[in-house]
């Protein structure tokens, strides 16, 4: 159902672009995917909503610049998420270059020390505290791994990307995208488990 909706949006966007109605095309993209892009950016930027907002705007600005050249070879959602991924990785590089690493470590340490008691079992993941810890564990992953998991499971159910779409964005085969996704998931689980014990 979600895939059908995504295809329908893609067709409408392509038709609008073909007719030269760029504003309409961008409105369609904003209506359909602004939440997806914002969630992706927010999770990629470790929950920093202010930066996520800025980067989401940058993503749509880049889309405005590239909309004339958009030929519809990949879906509009894939195209937009590819831009979002690039912008987030760029933002992370810039941020990490300018931030104080010690300060970051202190913040992480404080978060862990002042956190509620660790999980007794994996069933606690879905509790309020468990979700907070899951978010922290997600932030510990490398940006590329984090990107895999967020695209596949962390942008909201209707617009989650399939493994094929992630493979398209990263220029990988489906098999290797799937393998990397499983590896990222295993690492996330290890971090959560280590933290719990």
């Amino acid at each position: 159902m979600a895939e059908k909706a995504s295809e329908s949006v893609h067709d409408e966007v392509r038709t609008a672009i073909a007719a030269g109605a760029y504003q309409q095309a961008l409105e369609l993209l904003a209506d359909a995917y602004v939440d997806t892009v914002y969630r992706y950016c927010c999770r990629m930027l470790r929950g920093d909503t202010g930066r996520a907002r800025d980067v989401t705007q940058q993503v749509y600005e880049e889309a405005c610049k590239g909309i004339v050249g958009f030929r519809g070879a990949s879906s509009a959602k894939t195209w937009l998420l590819a831009i979002a991924r690039n912008q987030c990785l760029k933002e992370l590089v810039v941020h990490e270059r300018h931030s104080d690493l010690l300060h970051m470590h202190r913040a992480d340490l404080a978060r862990r020390v002042h956190a509620e008691p660790s999980w007794g079992s994996e069933a606690d993941v879905l509790s309020q505290d468990g979700l907070r810890r899951l978010q922290w564990a997600l932030d510990q992953l490398e940006p590329e791994e984090r990107s895999f998991l967020i695209m596949r499971f962390g942008v909201g159910v209707p617009n989650e990307l399939s493994v094929e779409e992630i493979a398209t964005i990263l220029g990988l085969s489906r098999a290797s995208a799937y393998r990397k996704l499983k590896e990222a998931l295993a690492r996330l689980r290890r971090i959560v488990h280590d933290d719990a014990t």
């Binding site: 979600a2 392509r14 038709t15 672009i17 073909a18 007719a19 030269g20 760029y22 504003q23 961008l26 409105e27 904003a30 209506d31 602004v34 939440d35 914002y38 969630r39 927010c42 999770r43 909503t49 907002r53 989401t56 705007q57 749509y60 600005e61 405005c64 610049k65 909309i67 004339v68 030929r71 519809g72 994996e122 069933a123 993941v125 879905l126 468990g130 979700l131 899951l134 978010q135 997600l138 998991l149 967020i150 499971f153 962390g154 942008v155 909201g156 159910v157 989650e160 399939s162 493994v163 799937y178 499983k182 998931l185 996330l188 689980r189 959560v192």
Partner: protein, 208 residues
């Protein structure tokens, strides 16, 4: 709630983890002012007008993934172009050039041949062209025979009363002797030639 592809298996132990990731995504609210900001910025950035050519190009590109649509269109266009601009039609092709040459040659040949000549009258082809006296009344075909060299020319039939003029290139010495002999006999050089040919033919058996 779990959206799973058929051939994706992440294991039962990650089920809660995946559900947790999805809940985290669901817990994020997009700021309401974000969309208007994006659209306002888009108005500044988006191109205003597009050329007609680029619009056509976009239309063609949007057709590309549907070969059932553009396939017949391309086929009909190629057929129409082939019909309209074929080389035969324009007369610029190699075949038409060859045909034109053949037609010209045929016309020239038809004009050169005597009109009374029919298949039944056609004589056997001689190996060498005999010299014949000239007649001013007959339109002269321009036939030049190099001395010492035989040429196959199609003469009129023997029974035809029409004379044929033959121009021959003679060596200067032979021509001098011919003129001297004509002066000695007080005759025209062509009369001498005529006689020489008749004498030659009388002395030559048919079929030799």
């Amino acid at each position: 709630m779990m959206m799973r592809h058929e051939d994706e298996d992440y294991g039962e132990e990650t089920r809660d983890l995946l559900e947790g990731l999805r809940r985290l995504a669901g817990g994020l609210e997009t700021p309401p002012e974000l969309r208007p900001c994006i659209l306002a910025r888009a108005q500044e950035l988006l191109p205003r007008n597009r050329s007609r050519a680029s619009r056509w190009w976009s239309m063609l590109v949007s057709w590309r993934p549907h070969p059932l649509v553009w396939g017949p269109v391309v086929a009909v266009a190629c057929f129409a172009a082939g019909m309209l601009f074929s080389p035969t039609q324009l007369g610029t092709g190699r075949d038409s050039a060859i045909r034109a040459t053949q037609e010209t040659a045929h016309k020239r040949h038809t004009a050169a041949a005597p009109p009374s000549l029919t298949k039944e009258e056609a004589p056997p082809q001689p190996a060498a062209l005999p010299l014949a006296p000239q007649d001013a009344a007959w339109p002269r075909p321009e036939t030049r025979i190099a001395a010492g060299r035989s040429a196959a020319v199609r003469p009129p039939s023997a029974s035809s009363p029409l004379p044929v003029e033959v121009t021959a290139v003679l060596p200067a010495a032979l021509y001098e002797r011919l003129v001297q002999e004509a002066q000695r006999r007080h005759q025209d050089p062509s009369t001498l030639l005529h006689e020489a040919v008749e004498t030659y033919l009388r002395g030559t058996k048919p079929g030799e």
